[in-house]
């Protein structure tokens, strides 16, 4: 057992006008040392709140959290400070998450001197090392965030996150604001650092091709709950939950000769305020019937592979039948 982070039945609810918003509603998973878990889902599914709750930017409503086997669900001030040296976060918008009045040097240096681990004389060198590792040019030391382009700003965000040599980093949409060519640079950087430091990552994104590239395991969230979770390869090759299937099929493919079969979902994400019992996807699910009004539990359907749908085998039989039928119509073998 070398799970760096483990959460059990984690909940984060917010009181809002009109009721209780179930942002994260009973999520359980663990992340092994040196691996990356990708969390995907659409806006409002609770993926960012999940990340923020795990690193204690939000206080959890219920459930348990463990860091290297140690219970970190409730932390006192001093323990929280220690915990935050071990876990870090990289944010989506590197412009909003860097203090515009601080130079790049000051931004990267701040966690170092706050920790009190480095004598003043060594700070300079430590900063130079971090900037070098993340590919931020030395000449930018005295620059301010607004003078840098998006890619460089995100490199500074990464340098700051790495400053105290953390064990676990939550990356919340770190490349979503960047153009593809810059996005590729940042993804390579994150993967290089992970390989050399044995870092454990949680990668939150709505971009499915990015998450497939970077993750070992993937969890798919819908309205505060995990609906499918397992190895990245299995999940992309053979998605089982109707929502995962629709989500993957909705991604436009660059393969112009083999357009995939698209499941276009009706409607939109329903409200996470007072969601009520039953499967939360049922209002948009093409297979829904009255049995879906029962609560669905995330159940292990294969080794380390979990899906929250009681009618899984029935639905997948139907889907396969449709596919085989279509295949015969076109006279192609499947």
């Amino acid at each position: 057992m070398s799970a760096v982070i483990e959460v059990k039945n984690l909940k984060k609810h917010f009181d809002v006008p009109g009721g209780v918003l179930h942002a994260v509603d009973g999520v359980s998973f663990k992340v092994e040392q040196g691996t990356t878990i990708g969390i995907v889902g659409e806006s409002g599914c609770g993926k960012s709140t999940l990340g923020r709750t795990i690193i204690h930017l939000e206080e959890s409503t219920d459930g348990e959290m463990f860091f290297r086997g140690e219970d970190v669900t409730r932390l006192k001030r001093r323990d929280l400070k220690k915990f935050r040296e071990r876990v870090q976060m990289i944010f989506q918008d590197p412009y909003a998450s860097l203090n515009p009045r601080m130079t790049i040097e000051e931004i990267v240096q701040e966690p170092l001197w706050l920790s009190g681990r480095y004598p003043k004389a060594q700070l300079d060198e430590a900063v130079a090392k971090l900037m070098d590792r993340t590919g931020v040019e030395e000449r930018l030391r005295r620059s301010y965030p607004h003078e840098l382009d998006g890619g460089r700003r995100q490199r500074v965000g990464i340098a700051r996150a790495l400053a105290l040599d953390p064990d676990f980093i939550v990356c919340d949409e770190p490349v979503s604001a960047l153009d593809v060519s810059i996005q590729a640079q940042i993804l390579n950087l994150l993967m290089d650092i992970q390989a050399s430091d044995g870092l454990t990552l949680m990668f939150i994104t709505h971009d499915l091709s990015v998450v497939r590239h970077i993750s070992d395991a993937i969890g798919v969230m819908y309205l505060g709950q995990m609906v499918e979770m397992g190895s990245a390869e299995a999940l992309f090759n053979r998605p089982l939950h109707p929502y995962t299937k629709a989500l993957l099929s909705a991604v436009p493919s660059i393969d112009i000769h083999n357009p995939g079969r698209r499941v276009v979902l009706k409607g939109e994400l329903t409200s996470p305020i007072n969601p009520g019992p039953g499967c939360r996807f049922r209002s948009r699910c093409p297979h829904a019937d009255r049995r879906c009004k029962e609560n669905q539990q995330l159940a292990e359907v294969g080794e380390g592979y979990f899906v929250a749908c009681d009618r899984l085998s029935e639905i997948n039989d139907q889907d396969n039948a449709v596919r085989n039928h279509r295949g015969k119509e076109r006279g192609t073998k499947i």
């Binding site: 659409e42 806006s43 382009d149 890619g151 153009d179 593809v180 060519s181 810059i182 996005q183 590729a184 640079q185 993804l187 390579n188 993967m191 709505h206 499915l208 091709s209 990015v210 497939r212 590239h213 970077i214 629709a246 989500l247 909705a250 991604v251 436009p252 493919s253 660059i254 393969d255 112009i256 357009p259 698209r262 276009v264 979902l265 939109e268 994400l269």
Partner: protein, 323 residues
């Protein structure tokens, strides 16, 4: 002229912005053709000049700071850059419409969504108030919004529904040319699929031509007939979907494909394009991609780069294209 195959033809377009004494060269001698009823994907990264081109066609660039410094834009054989402003009022919203990226800012937050559609109908027709309202309701219905939302304000709608309202406004007069500027970038993938389907449906029904501006090559693959890759205000590669996707030739196009995480599944490392966009304040000679180009050669830094026709209809602005 009527049904010429070149329905839209942009010739040597130059657009500059002035900003605090600096001149920003946004569009530099850009030429493009589009046939009636076809879709062109205009692909490029932030700052390449995609939106500036669309706004130039619609003539809604803020002047100053922007200025069209040269070139011609022929719509059905007529140069719309030479038309007086009052003639443009008839063209905008009727013959050419635009769908903007951000549905939150494109709608008036203090006006009911039904009234915003009705306003366009009133502006461009002599319909009676009753007919105007009927037409607006009908259009809402067609984009999949129930008529009982007519009196809703934009804040009461989700992002996907707001974008449907924008589409309803853009399509109410069955425009001949639709300019869609990143129409789904702000939306989730399942909503994106719905919105693209609506656009496809109407485009086909009205036989409209479309310029689809996007940075998502997957969206181009599924929605366009021809592709133009734009870099630093110039088209660097142009051709049919098959030309550009099966035989990408400009090093920048090749770099874009190789940057995609989905391009080579299973490969551990991506192959990004090094460096970043050139400074748009510098009007450099030679190829604008040269400083980042893995194939850069001696002749690339100076002189005019020819726009070569590699095969019929497939153009590439490069001295040493990949073939």
């Amino acid at each position: 002229m009527g049904n010429t195959d070149k329905f839209l033809s942009i010739r040597n377009l130059n657009v500059e912005y002035t900003s605090g004494g600096d001149v920003i060269y946004a569009v530099n001698g850009l030429s493009l053709d589009l046939e009636r009823g076809k879709s062109l994907g205009l692909v490029g990264e932030t700052g390449a000049g995609k939106t500036t081109v669309a706004k130039a066609i619609l003539r809604v660039l803020p002047t100053p700071p922007a200025g069209i410094k040269g070139g011609e834009i022929f719509l059905d054989g007529e140069d719309i850059l030479k038309k007086p402003e009052d003639k443009m009022l008839d063209i905008r919203g009727r013959r050419i419409s635009m769908i903007f990226q951000d549905p939150m800012t494109a709608l008036n937050p203090t006006m009911k969504i039904g009234d915003q559609i009705a306003e366009i109908v009133r502006l461009h027709s002599d319909d009676s108030p009753h007919e105007v309202k009927h037409r607006a309701m009908d259009m809402l219905n067609r984009v999949g919004i129930m008529a009982d939302r007519f009196n809703d304000y934009p804040y009461q709608l989700s992002g996907g529904m707001k974008q449907r309202v924008i589409i309803a406004m853009a399509l109410v007069f069955r425009p001949e040319l639709l300019l869609a500027d990143e129409p789904t970038t702000a939306l989730d993938v399942t909503i994106q699929a719905q919105v693209l389907e609506i656009i496809r449906h109407f485009k086909q029904k009205f036989n409209s031509s479309m310029i689809l501006i996007t940075h998502d090559l997957g969206i181009v693959a599924e929605n366009c007939d021809t592709v133009a890759v734009i870099y630093a205000g110039q088209i660097v590669e142009y051709g049919s979907l098959e030309d550009v996707f099966d035989r990408p030739s400009h090093p920048y196009t090749v770099g874009l494909f190789h940057s995609l995480p989905g391009f080579a599944v299973g490969e551990a490392r991506l192959h990004p394009i090094g460096g970043s966009l050139p400074d748009p304040r510098v009007h450099a000679a030679g190829c604008s991609f040269y400083p980042r180009c893995p194939r850069a050669a001696d002749g690339c830094a100076a002189g005019e780069v020819p726009n070569r026709e590699l095969s019929p209809g497939h153009f590439c602005r490069c001295l040493c294209p990949e073939v």
